[in-house]
Symmetry: C2
Subunit: 167 residues, 2 copies
Amino acid sequence: MATTRIIDDDRLTAVGLLVEVHRGLTNKFAARLARHGLSENELEILLRLGRTPNCQLRMSDLAAQTSLTTSGVTRVVDRLERAGLVTRASCDTDRRGTWAVLTDTGLERVTAAVADHIDDVDRWYTGLLTPEQLAALTEALRIVRDTVRPEAVAGVDAARARPRAEV
Amino acid sequence: MATTRIIDDDRLTAVGLLVEVHRGLTNKFAARLARHGLSENELEILLRLGRTPNCQLRMSDLAAQTSLTTSGVTRVVDRLERAGLVTRASCDTDRRGTWAVLTDTGLERVTAAVADHIDDVDRWYTGLLTPEQLAALTEALRIVRDTVRPEAVAGVDAARARPRAEV
DNA sequence: TAACAATGGTTGACGGCGCAAAATATTGAA
DNA sequence: TTCAATATTTTGCGCCGTCAACCATTGTTA
């Protein structure tokens, strides 16, 4: 029982803060997203598709970008397809592959959802900080991201949906 | 299908970064925690208990601090109890209430786990930044945390396990 | 004191996601 | 050609945590 003091450490509270902020934001965002019938993961997938020239991406690319498992992506896309926001198309050049393709209604839906979402982001996150604070935050996060999740860095740009870049 | 341009926004990438970092860190941490037989949530609960003078906290307090549901806390504590790291004790002053009490082996376990964990935190997070960068990051996060999750601010300090602070 | 709302905690049903094993397609080598 | 090794996606199973319904206790109001 005695007194314990190992457990208070600055580094620990630093991550703690990050985790708390993440959870807090997630909760704040969830409500409005739900009004659009979307979860955070679903929004992210739709976004990634929407950022692409042809509005399509291969399942494995989605998995790489989102740090969902491929199986996770399968299920999310299942739901989105059932909702009519995405369709699957088989890949001509490699018949193992599958494209997830954003439908027109999918594009409309994500556009509307994102508009609202950005309001929330501004309200609960970026809008709370001075430009300098935000810049510093972003810079620090980018440094951590680059070493903790290097695939994603490549992923964002290398996600050219057209001829399917070899990895 | 057409060309899409709605979807690129600085604010969006700012949250995206936060989410990516969180996921990345979570993944990095999970491996070593698993070697201690703990999940992130389990570690957090043990930590909160360990920080307390009597190594005990009420279920509802744990829920408030961790932003798990009360039912979530019930199940985590179930597991921890099954593992012998925590016991439940009924509360004399309010017989609805239940204390979660850290056992001696629980304290040992969390101490060992935290030591390793801090290494990871330093390696993948705090150690990557200059003191100034870390300070700026922490400050910005704290601002966001305070508005996004005000309960937690009170919670951390008001978590005096002794006579049970009224909320 | 009786009646009833409010609080603390647990339970059952359920959904989301990961892991590992399938199913299918591709590539390379003998 | 044929067979092994590899790559892409899906599926079976199980864990974890939420939601809503529930029981027990406490506080309040009359």
